[in-house]
């Protein structure tokens, strides 16, 4: 047990936990986006996608528990790292300047992370933990996005997710030790592309629902 604590309690160990759990969330987001695209095929297609998904029980519950555990690891470790990093420089500089390494995404990781957590809770309360006895998921979604405030809020949240992914994706490869001049430029660009796909893919959905549903 001792080597285990020494490994995952160390700075690199904690980052490895962030990297692996983060990669799982990128996988999850990809699946989630693929599923949501059925919205473009109309309310019935979306409802039937939701039905098929729920037909996968009890497998779905296992996935949900796994996602919850991953989220707890990612959040607790992330906050711990953030706290330690704040302590590592008690006296701040009077002048701060970026030399070209930092990006908006990298500089805001802990903040975008906390915002995403708040959004995920809100999102689950909206669409997941609701009474669905006399209604369909499509009805819930289209009623919600009839409210422009919801549309704006969701788009803003997706932009935050995109920035988090833009730094997180390439960064997790670096943490896992996969950085080589041969392929790092590709991974770096791929992170931007993936964050754009998530940003546009998820971001347009609320707009589409509010305008055409």
């Amino acid at each position: 047990m001792n080597w285990f604590v020494a490994t995952f309690g160390s700075s690199i160990g904690k980052k490895l936990l962030m990297a692996v759990t983060g990669l799982c969330f990128i996988g999850f987001l990809t699946g989630h986006l693929a599923g949501n695209l059925t919205i473009y095929a109309g309310g019935d297609a979306f409802n039937s996608y939701a039905e098929h998904l729920h037909a996968l029980e009890p497998f779905l519950t296992v996935v949900e528990i796994a996602l919850l555990s991953l989220a707890i690891i990612h959040i607790v470790t992330g906050l711990w790292l953030f706290w330690q990093n704040l302590k590592a420089r008690p006296n701040r500089y009077a002048v701060n300047k970026w030399a070209g390494g930092r990006t908006i995404g990298s500089a805001t990781m802990p903040y975008t992370g906390v915002l995403i957590l708040a959004f995920v809770i809100f999102h689950l309360l909206n669409f997941s933990f609701v009474d669905k006895t006399n209604t369909t998921i499509w009805q819930i979604v289209s009623t919600a996005f009839a409210n422009p405030l919801y549309v704006l809020l969701y788009i803003a949240a997706i932009v935050v997710v995109a920035f988090h992914v833009r730094h997180g994706l390439w960064s997790l490869f670096q943490t896992l030790g996969a950085n080589h001049p041969k392929y790092m430029p590709f991974i770096f660009k791929a992170s931007i592309v993936v964050s754009l796909i998530f940003g546009i893919g998820f971001g347009l959905l609320p707009l589409y629902v509010s305008l055409f549903a």
Binding site: A6, T7, K15, A94, V95, A99, Q174, L176, A178, H180
Partner: protein, 254 residues
Amino acid sequence: MTKNINLTLKVWRQKNSSAAGNFERLEAKDISTDMSFLEMLDIINEKLTLEGKEPIAFDHDCREGICGQCGSVINGRPHGPEKGTTLCQLHMRHFADGDELVIEPFRARAFKVVKDLAVDRSPLDQLIQAGGYISANTGAAPDANALPISKETAEMAFDAAACIGCGACIAACPNASAMLFIGAKVSHLNLLPQGKSEADKRTLGMVRKMDTLGFGNCTNERECEAECPKEISITNIARLNRGFIKASLFSSEK
């Protein structure tokens, strides 16, 4: 083309490590653009001494960019605004007449300010010690090329060995992490046959020491690589991460 410029300096003054510091405004008049940054500070110090005031304490030694002693943060940039340049090799021609320069010491919990701009970077020595020894035979120098090392490996080790231990990577890191420094040391020693036998022990030793010394955690901000006067690449940090995974999960090292 030599010319003379006037600058306004805001220099961090701090009596000792426990005193509270503050910025002092100083005028640097008639500074030749041929001077190095440290020569400019020398001129200021001469003037302060003649006026019976306390000169600015700052670290320096070789003044030719090889010892790693110098280093302050100029307008938010460790070693100043020039890429791949130590503060002693930074020339005043990179500044314009009338510029205001804010000069601060390297700041990190692990680096205590000794006085003014002079900081105690002995935690870097402790990191080196935690890296342990290498195994080399004593006696006559071995024949050249008796130990085959590929050119690629030699180059990678040499690039890492260019680290002069100045600590600018830590000063530049938003998290005050020492990953570039130990990444460079681990790469330099673990890549070569002389250091390979102790590679796992060295990697774990240095990472654990870094954690206990109060350095922060790397979040891949890449500011270290951008500010390092020897342009050490973060591929060395990736190598350290690989080495850590191997040492922790695939070796008997505890």
